[in-house]
Structures are given as structure tokens and as C-alpha cells.
Symmetry: C2
Subunit: 294 residues, 2 copies
């Protein structure tokens, strides 16, 4: 199922049956994360489906912290008149329904590519870009984490980067996702003169990249027993937007951040919904003469 | 001159003679940056002295960007009825008085230290901490940048880290500064339970760390001809607060960021006042088994 189709389905039923919305979302979730996680969509999604479906915009929390930013804060759901939904599920009494695991999300920027290529399929990695991806793969392997999955944008440069990294992480499932493609997430503040996407680009990309954020950046499902380590290979704008959104900093500030090619940005999401940025644009594992930002 | 004395002098004359305020600040600036830069305090500081001295609090800019965040935006000063001050200085017509250089500020977190030490002087680096500082020094040298100066906090762990790094950067002036000592910059949002400083700690440290930010993080002086590279060796809370303030993100969000020991955080400040974060907590140059966060 393409992301375009999914978005249409989700939006189409927004005012109608919440169960159908969740069914469509669950199908797509399975598509990107493989079959192993499909079983996690249970009590949690019933609870989420019971939430009002009207939240279609990015909310700014000012200087406060919204613990229910990912709409998975069970206490918020329980105090919102949804207690009867929980009691319908027999498993809720066994594990209290609260997330217990921490999600580690390692965001990798694709490595250097041929900027003058005609269209995405010609914008493949340069020889240096392929070398950078080798360094990134070696570093991820050396970190020795128990990676659960690697998701990558379907654009050529991200796919190629992920394929090279994959050589160093045998056994880690590799899946692609259209939502993660590069784009214009939101008009940057302060504005810049050298990069001026059309309004329609923000209009389309903005909703898609926000949808990617909501799919990938959230606390663990209550059924997740162990901490997870997920790799996402995508793009500078997407990663910078994710970081601002996850830390509840103004998303318009994404262009105040720069990222080297092949760099690692590490977010953790605690069971409580707390988020921490452990590193941003780490590329210290590359020799200085291999560093680029294109 | 200690930072305590300087702060008293600056505050004492806040409502009086702006010239005296600048004189005290200039003396302290020289103390921390050595004698080579004292000559830069000219037109620029006369202009700054002419600004109202009442700005004592951290201002939130919401989702906007304040180009005059460091009170060095000459266009803001000129449009604020200060044109006659500029015309008094003969050099203003030669170079137009605008900054032309970019400042690169590399913020280094001290490496691992003995947490159980009794007081600062006993909280010295562990053997691993000394090893980490060697890695950081090697990386900074390998980056091959033309470093202008290294400033470090006067706390034992930062001093020791800076001294080890200094071995790899011969000829780079090394100076210490009390303003950069560790502390409680501002109550974090969301709050945490494991770390609860007294109100008086925020009261004292908050003003001091904000003073450190204003001293070290700003655009280049108009007289600076070339881009500069300055190293500041200090502490996790100080660096995290600096990053939030420099990017104009809510400073209360500083505890959403984590930093490895000996890691490199790189800020650039453009002549226009634009700020970019190039990397945060980069420690990829250390073998994974040497990474710590204590």
C-alpha cells in the first residue's frame, strides 16, 4: 500500500469509524515494519481509535512539555473518560497496559550523491559517498547494539546507503518507506534566500513528513518487552524536522541544524514519553578528509 | 578579576554610566581571551553601551528569529536612533562597521571523572577520562582547523581535559574562565525527579551561565577579518543551555539533550547573526567501549 493511498484512507474515515482508521494504519505499519510487529496493534490501538480524530496540525507546546505528544500516554487516555475501553481488554489487568521499554531510533543521513543527476534514479552515490556509507556501517556494527530493523527512504541515495550499511548488519531486516523521502517539511524561520520551494511543495511534503514523524517517532507499544534499536536511513530535512518535533522545539527551526553525510543522530523515547537527543550528526568515525555536507 | 566581582560591577552601574559598564566588561573579556583581542573593543562597544541596559532576562522569541539576539546587529542599532554614534568613529566609513567573519565555536564536554571525590579538587579525571581526552585532542588536531584559542572552565575536570587536549594543539593559547563552571542553568521542562537543585542554585548559576552565554556566543566583531575557531572546554549543562539559547529554542529544554564525555558540539555564528548547529555530542572518534556519559 503506498503512502498516498494510506493517507487518503485515514483522512477519508477521519470523521467516521475510528476502527477502520486503525485498520488501515495497522496494515501500513505492518508493511513498513514487517510482519513481526503486527501483533502489537491491540489494546493500544483500540484506545487510540477512541481518541478524537481531529488533530491534523502540528501543535506548539511553547515552553511546556506535552507528555501525550504521541497520543500514547495511557494515563491521559484513562483520565479522558476512556476507562471502560480498557476494562474490555482482558490483558489490561495483567500488564497494566503501560509501555515498559525504551525505543532507540538511530537516524542516518544518506551519504554523498551525484547532485547533477537527472531525476532521483540518476542521483546515486559518488565513490566518496559509497565509502562514507561503509564507515557508517562499520560504526553501527561496532556499537554492538541489537538492531531490530532498518527502514530507509525509497530515494536512490538513501536506498544505496542502506544497502551498503546492511552488509555490516547481517540479519537485520531491511524495509523501505515512501514517507521518508526528502522534501520541504515546513517554511524555515529565519527564511533563507538560496532555497525557495514552491508553496505546493510545503503543502504536500509537510503533511507527508509529519505523517512519517507520527509513524516512526513515538514511545514503545505496551507489549514491547525489551528496549529496541531501530535504524532509519533518510534525509537531512526529514531528520532535522524529526529532531525538532521530538524535542518539542519549534519545527520551523529545523534549518538551524546541519548534518554531515552518513552521520548518526540518536533519539531515545522512554516509556513515559520523555525524549532525549543523545547525539546529532555524529560523524567522528570518519576521517576528516571524508566529511561532506552535500 | 573574578566573575563574581565583574557581575557586581556590571549590575551596580546598570542604571548609571554605560561607559563604566563596558569598561568593566572589556577588562573581563581581556582576562578570558588574552591580550590579543583587547583592541577589538572600539566602535562596537560604544554602540552597545548606547543600548538600554535593562535587558536582564532571557527573552523567548516564540517561533520567530531575533536577528539582534546578541545585540550586535548593526542595522538594528542604526535604525534605533544611534546613527550619530557611528559617525563619531572615523573607521566606520572604511569598513561599514558590519561583521564579515564567521565564528566557529567548538564546545567540548570534559571527559569522565571521579564522581565520588570530595569537592571539586578531588573530582579529577579517571584513567578512562584521561584516555578520552587524548581521543578528543587527536580528533581536534586531525580536523586541521586554525584554532584561535581554547578557553576552559576552572573546575578540575575541565582544566585537566583542556590540558590534555592542549598537547595536541601546540601554540593555541589556553585560558581559564570561572563563568563556564558547571551549574543549574534553568529549571528543566519537563522536570526530573533524580536531580533537584535548590532554588538558590538556579538563582546564582542561572545568571552566571547566561552571562557566560552572552560573553562567548555572539557574532564576530566587525574588526575580525578571518573566520575564527574557538574551543571551549566545559560542562554538559552549560553546553546544552548554550545550544538551546543559540538556536533560540526554549532554554528550559536543555535537559532533553544528552552529551557523551569528551564529545564535540559545533556551533557557527554567521556575520548576519544566523546560528547553525553542525554537530552535537560528536564522539564517533572514540572506540565504542570508551564512551561514557557520567
Amino acid at each position: 500500500m503506498s503512502y498516498r493511498r494510506t493517507i487518503k484512507i485515514v483522512c477519508g474515515f477521519a470523521g467516521g469509524s475510528a476502527v477502520l482508521v486503525v485498520a488501515a494504519a495497522a496494515a501500513e505499519y505492518q508493511g513498513c515494519f514487517g510482519h513481526t510487529r503486527a501483533a502489537r496493534w491491540s489494546l493500544f490501538n483500540v484506545l487510540r481509535a477512541a481518541q478524537p480524530a481531529g488533530n491534523r496540525t502540528v501543535e506548539s507546546t511553547g515552553n511546556a512539555w506535552d507528555f501525550n505528544w504521541d497520543k500514547r500516554d495511557l494515563s491521559a487516555l484513562l483520565t479522558n473518560g476512556k476507562k471502560e475501553v480498557v476494562s474490555e481488554d482482558p490483558s489490561s489487568e495483567q500488564d497494566n497496559g503501560k509501555p515498559k521499554a525504551t525505543r532507540n531510533i538511530l537516524l542516518i543521513r544518506h551519504s554523498q550523491y551525484n547532485l547533477s543527476g537527472n531525476g532521483d534514479h540518476e542521483r546515486i552515490l559518488t565513490p566518496l559517498g559509497r565509502e562514507q556509507a561503509e564507515f557508517t556501517g562499520q560504526r553501527l556494527a561496532a556499537l554492538g547494539l541489537k538492531y531490530d530493523i532498518m527502514v530507509h527512504s525509497t530515494m536512490a541515495r538513501a536506498t544505496e546507503t542502506a544497502n551498503i550499511i546492511s552488509k555490516y548488519l547481517p540479519g537485520v531486516e531491511l524495509v523501505s518507506c515512501d514517507l521518508l523521502r526528502e522534501g520541504a517539511p515546513i517554511e524555515p524561520v529565519p527564511p533563507v534566500t538560496h532555497w525557495k520551494p514552491d508553496a505546493v511543495q510545503y503543502h504536500e511534503d509537510g503533511a507527508r513528513i509529519e505523517a512519517a514523524f507520527r509513524r516512526y517517532i513515538h514511545r514503545a507499544d505496551p507489549k514491547q518487552k525489551e528496549d529496541s534499536y531501530e535504524i532509519i536511513v533518510c534525509h537531512a530535512n526529514v531528520i532535522r524536522y524529526f529532531v525538532c518535533r521530538a524535542l518539542q522545539f519549534p519545527p520551523e527551526g529545523w534549518l538551524r541544524i546541519g548534518l554531515n553525510n552518513g552521520s548518526i543522530t540518536w533519539l531515545t523515547v522512554r516509556p513515559s514519553g520523555r525524549v532525549a537527543l543523545r547525539t546529532l550528526g555524529d560523524s567522528g568515525f570518519m576521517p576528516p578528509d571524508k566529511l561532506t555536507r552535500t
